[in-house]
Structure formats: C-alpha cells, structure tokens
C-alpha cells in the first residue's frame, strides 16, 4: 500500500537529518561575517534571516549608527550599522552589503534587530574549548559585546555576544543631535 511505502520513507528522512545533527552536537555553530577586513561571528541560532541592503526609513534624531527601520513582513525592524558602531571598515553601501536580522532574547521579551555588515562568509563550528578570551588591548569595540576569539586557520574571528547587542542602540541616545 501507499501508506506503507510512505511509512518507510519517513525514517529514511529522519536518518538523513540525524546525520546533519551529528556534527552540530560538537559545540555551537556560528555565522561568520566581514566588517571591513575583519571577521566576526554570531551564534547562528539567533539569526532570523539575511537580506540585502535596502535604504531604511530614517528615525528622526537617531544616533548615526542607527540607519532607520524597515518592514520585515509587517514587523518594524531597526537597522544598525555595525561598521559605524564598531568603527571598523568603511560605511559604504554596495550591492554586496547585507543585513543580518537577529532575534535577541531579552529577559521577558525578544527583539528583532537588523545589523548591516559587509558580507556574510561561512558557518563556523566552535567548541567551548576553542573560544579564547579576548585580550583587553583597546580595540574600538566595547568589551561587553565580545564573547571571545576563535582561531580559524591563520586568521582570528571575533565572536560577538548576541545578548549584549540589543543594548547597542541605547548607548548614545542623542548622538545624532550633535551633528
């Protein structure tokens, strides 16, 4: 019968997806992206979607790194340019410029925020032991946003702390006024 054939199919699919899960269990997965020439990474479970850059609607008197808000399927999502905020790279908007939309859990709530980056590169598997503490030698990124560093072949990736990122827009509430 058809049903039996279908029933045989189901476990086969399950096995396939299990194979996929197999390597996830070795530590967490991170999405790596570029800001200028530096590589950064964010926990992939926070990532809602990746979309191309579009001019958002500006928010009056917002800090300069808050580019505005966009409509993501009926949800108003603020867009923050990480390059301006972190003073890394140049804030030019090219066809390759992308926006990573993150869902960040905040206490009783979750916030959806988009971050402008230069490019999305890869998915990185990192175990707890691979993550090293970032030395405090004054980069331009405030330390609360950094979860650690991970070595990737010859380069180093900065892991960002997704939970801290929602506070980003609150840092200079009147930044735009002074310009």
């Amino acid at each position: 019968m058809d049903i039996q054939a279908l029933a045989k199919d189901v476990p086969a699919q399950g096995e396939q997806s299990l194979e996929g899960i197999d390597f996830i269990t070795n530590g967490e997965q991170y999405l790596t992206f570029m800001l200028g020439t530096e590589q950064f990474a964010i926990n992939i479970l926070c990532v809602e979607e990746i979309r191309s850059w579009e001019q958002p609607t500006r928010i009056p008197n917002a800090p300069i790194h808050v580019k505005g808000v966009i409509n993501m399927r009926g949800v108003i999502v603020p867009i923050i340019d990480l390059r301006i905020k972190f003073e890394v790279g140049e804030n030019t908007y090219l066809p390759s410029t992308v926006v990573i939309i993150l869902t960040i859990e905040v206490e009783h709530d979750s916030k959806v925020i988009g971050f402008v980056v230069d490019a999305v590169s890869d998915v990185l598997n990192a175990e707890e032991s691979d993550i090293k503490k970032s030395p405090a030698f004054g980069g331009s990124i405030p330390p609360e946003f950094i979860a650690g560093l991970v070595n990737l072949e010859n380069s180093v990736v900065t892991l960002l702390n997704a939970e801290a990122l929602h506070k980003i827009e609150k840092h200079q509430p009147n930044g735009g006024n002074k310009s």
Partner: protein, 692 residues
C-alpha cells in the same frame, strides 16, 4: 503520563478572576437564600478551589475552603444570610485575589488582611454552629448512618506498572473518597536475585471508610486498570468495620507494615512539584500576552468575509491572466469589491478586540458599596449601556480614570444625608454611568445628583493659586475646566477617598493619552456631569501623509485644523526670530519639521511653503512640510517593540508600497520644540553674561 499543567495555568487564572467577579456581583445582589445567585457564588468558589488544588495553589485552596463552607451553609438554608457575613465574604474575595497572585509567584502572601478575614470567617462559622446546634447534631447523625466501610482486594497483574499505571495514584484517588487503611501483601515477592524490575509482585487489601461513596465511585477509581487486575469490592457494615480492621491487622499475610498513605502522598506531591518546576519557569519567562474571548458569531463573520475575499482575489487574478483594455470596467468593479471586502474584514477584525464596557463597569457596584459604608452616604448606582463595545486596550486604560471620577462623585458630589434632606432631595444619592456610541467615538457619562461644583470656590482657589487673574471673566465651562489643573482641590478637608488634588489632572492626562477628551457640566444644587469622549480603537488611525525631503510622515487627521499655502505678508518674525503665521485672529508659531528632525528638505524658506496647522491641548502650531500626499487609514505599529520610544514619533506604519513611515506625535513635537527653544534661550542668556 505527566501532563504539563503549566500550559493550562493562564486559563485557570482567567477563569478564577472571572469566578471572583461572579462572586462579587452575586454577593452584592444577594438578599436571601432563595436567591439563585447564592448557587452561582458557591459554584464560582468551588471551581476556584478545585482549580487551585490542581495547580498546587495551597494558600488559595485552604482559604477558599473556608469561604466555601460558609457559602454551603447559606446555600442549604442552614444559615441566614446577614449583611455582616456578606461583608466578610466580599473581603474574602479580595483575599483570594491576593492569594492567587501570591501562589502564582510561589511566594507566601503576608498581607495581614488575609489573617484577619480568616479569623472572621472562622468566627462566623463557629457562631453559626452554636446557634443552630440542633441542626448540626442532626447532620452529624445522618453522617454516621451514612458511614460505610468497603473492603477492596486489589490483586494487580505483574505487568500493571508497564502500562504506565502506578498503584500510588489509585490509592491517592481513593484517599479522596474517605479514610484509607492499606495493607500490602508481599508473599509473592521472589528472592531479590530473581526480581524482574518491570514486574509488580505486590497485592493490596484496602479498607475504605467513606461517607457517601458508592461501589460505583470506587470502581471508577480503578477504571483504568480494570483489565489488568483482579478487583474484589465488598461492603462491610458500619460496626463490622472495627472488627474487620482488627482481623486485617492480625492477618498473617500482612508481613509488611501498612503503607502510610499520607507520607506517600506528600512524597508524590513533592516529586510532582519538582517535575513541574521546569515548565513553570519556562512559562514565566514568556511575556504575559493576555487573551480575549471571542464569540463564535464574530469568528463566523470573519470566515465568511475571508471567503468573499478569496473569491474576489481569484476573479482578479483570472482577469489579470489575459488583460486587455476591454476588460477595464470589470477590473475597476473588481477593485471596488476588493476595497469593500478589505474594509469589512478590517472592521470585523477590529470588532474582535472590542469588549462590552461592562468589563470596566463591573467594579463599580462594589466600589459604591464600599464607599457608601465608608462615607455613611446612601448611594444608588444606575448603569446604562453596559453592552457598548470598546477596544480592549482603551478599556484597560480607562478603568482607573473612571474609578477616580466615580470616587470623586461620591466624595465631593453627593452631599451627606442631612444636607440632602435639608435641601429637599431624596436622602439617597444617585450616581449614573452611561456609555453610548456617537460617531466614531464612545462617550461615557458620569452623572451625580449632588451639590454640583461650587463655581466661586473653584474660581477663588484658581486666583489663590495664581492660575487665573483676579479680575478676569470666565465662562462656566472655563471655570469648571480649572479642576483639571494639577494640585487643584476644593474639598475642605482631605479624606482618604479624595481631596488631595492629585487626580483630576492625571485623569485628564490619561484620557488625552488615549486620544480622548473630557468635559464637565455642573449645576449648583442639582449635580455634575462628566463626559468622556474616547476613540473606538487605538490600532488604526486616519492620517494625512506629508513629505519632508525624502521622508514621508503621517499626521493624525484628528489633530489637523487646516492646511494652507503661506502668504508672505502674513508671516511675522517676532521676539528674536520666532516665526509666527497670522491665521485669522491667531498667531500660529511655525515649526519646520526638517529643523526638528535634522533632515534635508526641498523647501527651507517659509515663503510660499505648505503649512499644516495642527492643534494639541489648545496650542496651535504650523508644521512646515514639502508636500501633501494622500489621506488614508494606517495601522499603528509600535517602534518600542524592537527599538525604543522616539521623541516626536508616536509609532510607525507600513504604506501601500511596503515602506515604513513614521507617525508624528504632535504633543511630543511641541514639547520637543519648546525644549529646543529653551536650550537656545539659555545659550543666548549665557552669551549675554559673557558679554557683560
């Protein structure tokens, strides 16, 4: 077979609060035991107790049990319904509310009122027992005759536990029926090395003394395991019970001591608690979203409308497949239909959020009841138009202002009994609440037949406070509006009900923040009337789209006075470059949006520009814009959800092309402009000092 109870918790809470409301209204109307309402009060208390037991709300269960006992006696006519008992019960309702909240947060409620009420309840229960001592003896007799003893032989099959049944649950269920004595027979138990861990080797002999349970009740307990055990239930006489009990004790099979069912029960509740811990904490982290009960008829209408929408859609898409100009007429009529459908759909969806205003009015009978006791005034409350529907959000926020207005009416409005009689009025004061629709808004009227507002007292107070010039002539309504000034109270003495002068200004502010307004009318000696106008909904707004530079903004249509093209000769620059536009008799300050929001605009000169004159709180300002676009209804979306509150912006919306547009917050913009002006004045002032 554990069920995650946490998912039912919100339902339980909602039903409990509803039950408490039922109890409250019932108690206020309760006159005699023949009254039907005593039954509904009892039922409400009973289901709260039952639900609380399920969720382990022990404080609530214990307390409600007392209330229930008292109600039960009233219901059966064993106790006369007297006012003092109703008072105690009303207080208990408040206590249960506190206790539910406490149990929900897993804390112990330390409010002393609970102890007080508990003592009152117990006293009341005791006093009744002494008064109706004969009756209670009777019931005791009947109880003892009903006392029955059952002997249950429970021999489960070895695989019983594998089917997910645990005898301890059965025993717990039995324990609810009456007193239990359980003897475990371990004679079948093999030596330890031969024990198969999945098998059950025990048998039980259970003796149950119960008041009212029948064999059927007992069988029901064992319903799930009927096929997996040998069950033998025999009825023992009342007297035989004692003998048999001793038989059981001396029986040689009873090699194991009797199970202490109580200890076991405690253990299971403890384990079940730890089981529950996890889901409960996970449920707590979720935001409290609240819920709405919707009538099936409303949902049916929606489904019909969606059906029509689908038909229109398919018609349009078919039309689009091979379109030529000959079908233009069909297209326009199809689009008209689509417009109609969406409008109707929108209205019906809005109607789902609508609740009858009785949800807000429900608390007033109790409030009046309490206040009339406190003040010693006799007050009759008349409520009209309870079925008038109002948006849920508006309802939630209008509650407190209304309470304030009603308290004021009781305290300041209605005179004391003596004064009323002296003035030839009925000793009983009257307060009426009336709600009705008018146009696109809802009107709530609060009327009292008290002394009215003392015009001269208000005016004197205003002059004393420096709000009004001593010699100015004001109309009645202007004078009455003064009571909404902050810190304004004409009450001669401050009571704990009102008179501190905080409140009326807050009432006005709250109503205005909902986009509504409040009006007062009063006639000396005859009473006062407060009229609250509220918008039906907060989710949708009629807006005027305007363009400034590249940005599109939405101005709420309700705040627009007029839009005009400026004429050069009507523009005045006064007192240090402040721009005023002469609009008939008024001088309207001009607010260029591009300056306020730091934008680049096409038009930065006021000459021949477009001015949208808006009004907020009596203050008119002209907003300078580059272009006037369409007028349309927009759905308000919050910026706070994912971002934060922005000065001068009340929210955002999504336009037809999918882009986001900001909705202007006119009062916010005015205060922003004032703040900017102050900063400018300060720097100017500092400059002067430097020069000096």
């Amino acid at each position: 077979m554990t069920i995650d109870l946490a998912q039912f918790l919100p339902t339980f809470l909602e039903e409990s609060y509803e039950g408490l409301e039922t109890m409250e209204t019932g108690l206020l109307n309760l006159q005699s035991s023949e009254d039907d309402s005593i039954h509904s009060i009892f039922r409400a208390a009973h289901s709260i107790k039952g639900g609380a037991g399920t969720f382990g709300f022990t404080q609530v269960t214990n307390f409600t049990h007392l209330v229930e006992t008292l109600l039960d006696e009233m219901r059966d006519g064993r106790r006369d319904i007297i006012q003092s008992d109703i008072e105690i019960l009303l207080q208990s309702v408040d206590c249960i509310r506190l206790l539910i909240e406490a149990d929900r947060n897993e804390s112990v409620c330390e409010d002393e009122s609970i102890n007080n009420v508990q003592i009152l309840l117990n006293e009341s229960l005791k006093s009744a027992n002494t008064q109706t001592i004969n009756e209670s003896e009777d019931t005791n007799d009947s109880k003892s005759t009903n006392q029955q003893s059952w002997l249950i032989d429970f021999i489960p099959q070895p695989h019983l536990v594998q089917t997910g049944n645990d005898p301890i649950f059965l025993f717990n269920a039995l324990a609810d029926l009456g007193e239990l004595r359980i003897i475990c027979n371990t004679s079948e138990l093999p030596v330890f090395s031969d024990i198969e861990p999945k098998e059950l080797y025990l048998k039980w002999q259970i003796q149950l003394s119960t008041l009212s349970s029948t064999e059927k009740d007992i069988r029901e307990v064992f319903e799930w395991v009927e096929d997996e055990c040998i069950l033998d239930i025999t009825l023992l006489g009342t007297e035989a019970a004692v003998d048999k009990e001793q038989d059981l004790k001396s029986a040689p099979v009873a090699s194991e001591p009797a199970l202490d069912i109580k200890a076991a029960k405690e253990e299971t509740t403890r384990t079940s608690l730890t089981d529950n811990d996890k889901p409960q904490t996970s449920a707590k982290t979720k935001p409290d979203v609240g819920s709405i009960r919707v009538g099936v008829d409303k949902v049916d209408i929606l489904i019909n409308l969606v059906g029509e929408l689908v038909i229109t859609q398919s018609m349009l898409s078919e039309l689009g497949n091979d379109f030529d100009l000959s079908k233009l007429e069909k297209l326009t009529s199809g689009l008209d239909q689509l417009l109609q459908n969406t409008k109707e759909l929108q209205e019906s969806v809005m109607r789902i959020r609508m609740l009858p205003i009785s949800f807000a009015f429900n608390r007033f009978p109790r409030l009046i009841h309490d206040l009339s006791i406190k003040t010693g005034k006799e007050i009759e409350l008349v409520i009209k138009g309870e079925q008038t529907e109002l948006d849920k959000t508006v309802m939630e926020q209008i509650g407190d202002p209304l309470v304030h207005l009603v308290r004021n009416a009781v305290d300041h409005g209605i005179e004391s009994k003596e004064v009323r009689i002296a003035n030839g009025k009925s000793p009983k004061g009257k307060i009426s609440l009336d709600a009705y629709h008018m146009g696109g808004s809802i009107v709530i009227e609060i009327n009292d037949d008290g002394g009215g507002i003392n015009r001269q007292a208000v005016l004197n107070k205003a002059i004393e406070k420096g709000v009004v010039e001593p010699n100015s002539t004001l109309t009645d309504s202007q004078v009455f509006d003064l009571i909404f000034e902050p810190g304004f109270s004409t009450a001669n003495e401050v009571t704990d009900i009102s008179g501190r002068g905080v409140g009326m200004d807050v009432v006005k502010k709250n109503i205005q923040s909902l986009g509504g307004r409040i009006q007062v009318a009063s006639e000396p000696g005859k009473g006062s009337s407060f009229k609250v106008n509220l918008p039906l909904t907060l989710a949708i707004l009629d807006g005027q789209l305007v363009r400034v530079g590249t940005e599109v903004y939405i101005i709420p249509l309700i705040s627009i006075v007029e839009s005009l093209q400026t004429k050069t000769d009507l523009i005045n620059r006064v007192s240090g470059n402040m721009l005023l536009y002469r609009l008939r008799e008024d001088n309207v300050p001009v607010l260029p949006i591009y300056q306020l929001f730091n934008l680049e605009a096409d038009n930065i000169e006021i000459d021949n520009s477009l001015l949208v004159v808006v009004e907020s709180d009596g203050q008119k300002v002209g907003l300078m814009v580059d272009d006037l676009l369409a007028q349309q209804q927009v759905v308000i979306k919050s910026l706070k959800d994912n971002y934060q509150q922005v000065d001068g912006i009340s929210g955002a919306t999504i336009l037809g092309d999918g882009s986001v547009a900001m909705i202007l917050d006119i009062p916010g913009m005015i205060s922003m402009a004032l703040a900017q002006a102050q900063v400018a004045q300060k720097t100017a002032h500092n400059n002067i000092e430097e020069v000096v």
